[in-house]
């Protein structure tokens, strides 16, 4: 609404600016009166109400003044085209940044400022990076809006937990099975939604995510319901557990390497496991994108009718996108289960799907590095905001709005062709 009324550059139109500011202040007033204006308090064990209209007045005045300042600053600055895709990095810089990121990730646990907390946080980031890359296949490449991606994450986590519980499978044995199971769930979701697109697809996938969560919550004999599954085994290092003691006949990691046991070792190990999984996911998805299947996904996103006219079967292409995306989600889920040691349906709510989708969209649909950046922003921002207590979600929301204003097509909106006829021009424009 502000853009449409943007005055020509280098002149301040005070009248329209005042009008806009008044409007913004009015909106702020309507919002602030119920949200800020009243506070419930305890008056002798009875619910009472206190008004805080002073705060409301300060807030509304702040919005009014802020809008004027912002508008004036904008009209005095040289005009800029909003929504135009600007690149954060050129092609060569992207390669450089990716290499630097991998080296940094490999060295992270050994850096001087590193701590257990930081490595643990990085592990969480990498789980979301994996999930983001998996969902990117479905949303970014194939253009199928999936709001229930967390279902596959949950299938992966629960299948590993249950395999471990019932069949005594280790993490490494159960990992491919978890991926396969999640992929078959992806196909199961894919069939009924073959004819759907856009909003309708989003609604059905949203429902699918909820169904999976509700089944996990209510199928108590199998999933233990809301109590979840605990004592999920940790991954071992080539059969050597990372524990202080091991049952007879098994050497622990610390005993084998003759180092004293330290719980940090396990955290570091988990970090490297997820880093390896993430790198494999990255190579896998990057390669797929350059194969006929990847190009068919993108073609499907661009125009399904043209795909059919070229002899491409949209059914198999869609199902393969769902299956591959789900499989990658399943891997991430299995890792999540082994890392937490405990899972319950609470970890797989809609907000997780929304976060993963936000990572893909903020990263710039289709961009691998963008997903990493967005995952770092979305996962660490709430963490670093902990000091701000209840205001951290406010900060989070503001950051998301900021990204959408300044980078409406995502942090790294740029599509690299899957193949080229001519070598790219230097400088990577």
């Amino acid at each position: 609404m502000a853009e449409a009324a943007l005055p020509p550059p280098r002149r301040v139109h005070w009248q329209s600016l005042l009008k806009e500011a008044a409007l913004a202040a009015g909106v702020a007033l309507v919002l602030a009166v119920p949200l800020v204006g009243f506070e419930t308090i305890n008056v002798n064990a009875v619910l009472g109400l206190r008004t805080r209209f002073g705060w409301v007045a300060i807030g509304v005045a702040g919005v009014f003044a802020g809008r004027i300042l912002l508008g004036a600053a904008r009209s005095l600055m040289p005009e800029r085209r909003y929504g135009a895709p600007r690149l954060l990095l050129g092609r060569r810089h992207t390669t450089l940044a990716a290499t630097a990121a991998i080296i940094f990730a490999l060295a992270l646990p050994f850096l001087p400022f590193s701590s257990r907390y930081l490595v643990d946080l990085a592990t969480t980031v990498l789980i979301y990076v994996m999930l983001g890359w998996g969902l990117n296949v479905v949303v970014g490449l194939a253009g199928l809006l999936d709001l229930g991606y967390v279902a596959f994450y949950a299938v992966g986590a629960y299948s590993f937990a249950l395999f471990a519980q019932w069949f005594d499978l280790s993490f490494w044995e159960a990992l491919p099975l978890a991926g396969l199971l999640a992929a078959s769930f992806g196909i199961a979701l894919g069939f009924p939604v073959l004819r759907l697109r856009g909003d309708y697809l989003a609604i059905v996938t949203l429902g699918f995510g909820e169904i999976v969560r509700l089944v996990l919550l209510n199928w108590v004999p199998v999933t233990n319901g809301p109590n979840g599954i605990s004592n999920i085994p940790r991954p071992s290092f080539f059969g050597m557990p990372l524990t202080p003691h091991a049952p007879h006949g098994i050497t622990t990691f610390s005993a084998f390497f003759h180092v004293p046991f330290n719980p940090g070792q396990r955290i570091g190990f988990l970090y490297y496991v997820v880093l390896a999984l993430a790198l494999v996911t990255n190579v896998f998805t990057l390669r797929l994108r350059r194969l006929p299947i990847g190009r068919a996904w993108e073609a499907l996103r661009e125009d399904e009718i043209a795909c059919r006219a070229l002899g491409i079967n949209p059914t198999t292409i869609k199902l393969s996108a769902f299956a591959i995306g789900a499989m990658l989600g399943g891997f991430a889920g299995a890792f999540f289960a082994t890392r937490q040691g405990f899972i319950s349906p609470e970890s797989f709510t809609f907000i997780e799907s929304a976060t993963i989708l936000a990572i893909v969209v903020l990263g710039g649909s289709g961009s691998q590095l963008g997903v990493v950046l967005a995952a770092i922003v979305l996962v660490t921002l709430p963490e670093f905001g902990r000091g701000l207590a209840q205001y951290r979600m406010l900060l989070f929301g503001a950051a998301m709005i900021g990204i959408m204003i300044w980078r409406p097509r995502g942090l790294m909106a740029r599509r690299e062709p899957s193949l080229r006829l001519h070598p790219p021009r230097r400088g990577g424009g």
């Binding site: 896998f284 390669r287 797929l288 194969l291 006929p292 299947i293 190009r295 068919a296 993108e298 073609a299 996103r301 661009e302 125009d303 009718i305 043209a306 795909c307 059919r308 006219a309 070229l310 002899g311 491409i312 079967n313 949209p314 599509r415 062709p417 899957s418 193949l419 080229r420 006829l421 001519h422 790219p424």
Partner: protein, 280 residues
């Protein structure tokens, strides 16, 4: 003499009470350009949509001969018609993969071949030489057609960034990359300037000569239709009102009536008038 490539027999298609195509029969031959013309709403695009599997005709048989095999198009899925029977088409309102590059558009059209060469992605993931060779071939083929439509220089640009005429040419090149036996073009000259139309004529004639395929053409631009067609079918209100060589069709009173709404007229439609002038 060329053989029958496509035989349409008693094709009818109705949408509710509207009869879009009414008992239409015609034959399109190998190495011939067959044009379907008619006033707006005559059912031309409906015929195309029946041929390419986007509509399922109520009545009629559509048989396509590819080598020794015969395909009954009215029973096939759209993607199979393109993949197995070898019918490629373009669209009235261009349908390119807009965000992908020009080259990628042409490589996607060779999906089936590449998919097989990549062993359904497994071999491709492992980087087997079989797939690499197939990809190089696909790019060579794409380069060939890009060369023919004059787009080699712009191969790595997004398809949506091309000017309108180039997008039309790219769509034709993409259809040709599928290795068709019958190429169906839905108004390929719409929105082209006279020079581009002339280039299109040349392209279609050379494609027909070189590949020996049949071309089925819907077109309003009479310089294109009269200039290159071997056979013309005229539709009006879903019915075939005339058929034959360009010269015969142009003089057919039923055709003139369909275009003008009366039998005797001083004012021919501009495109026909211009064309008559041009030829006499």
């Amino acid at each position: 003499m060329s053989g029958a490539l496509l035989e349409v027999e008693h094709l009818s298609m109705r949408f509710g009470g509207l009869v879009a195509v009414d008992d239409l029969s015609f034959t399109a031959r190998d190495r011939e350009i067959t044009a379907i013309i008619g006033p707006n709403g005559a059912g031309k695009t409906t015929v195309f949509n029946c041929l390419t599997g986007f509509y399922r005709p109520g009545i009629g048989r559509l048989s396509l001969h590819r080598g020794e095999r015969r395909f009954l198009l009215e029973r096939m899925d759209g993607f199979r018609i393109a993949r197995d029977a070898g019918v490629a088409r373009t669209f009235q309102n261009i349908r390119l993969f807009a965000g992908m590059t020009v080259l990628e558009n042409l490589v996607v059209a060779q999906h089936q071949k590449l998919m097989r060469a990549s062993l359904w992605s497994v071999g491709g993931l492992l980087g087997l030489p079989l797939y690499r060779r197939a990809e190089a071939e696909a790019m060579e083929r794409a380069r060939h057609w890009l060369d023919r439509v004059g787009l080699v220089e712009r191969a790595d640009e997004a398809a949506e960034s091309l000017p309108y005429g180039a997008q039309r040419r790219l769509e034709i090149a993409r259809a040709l990359c599928t290795d068709p036996v019958l190429l169906c073009l839905d108004e390929p000259a719409a929105g082209l300037n006279p020079r581009e139309s002339a280039e299109l004529n040349e392209l279609l004639l050379s494609v027909r000569a070189e590949l020996g395929i049949g071309v089925l053409l819907i077109e309003h631009d009479m310089t294109v239709v009269m200039g290159i067609s071997d056979h013309i079918i005229v539709l009006d209100y879903g019915r075939k009102i005339a058929e034959g060589k360009p010269d015969a069709v142009r003089r057919d009173p039923a055709v003139i009536k369909a275009y003008l709404g009366e039998e005797e007229s001083e004012a021919l439609p501009p495109e026909i008038a211009r064309d008559l002038e041009h030829r006499s």
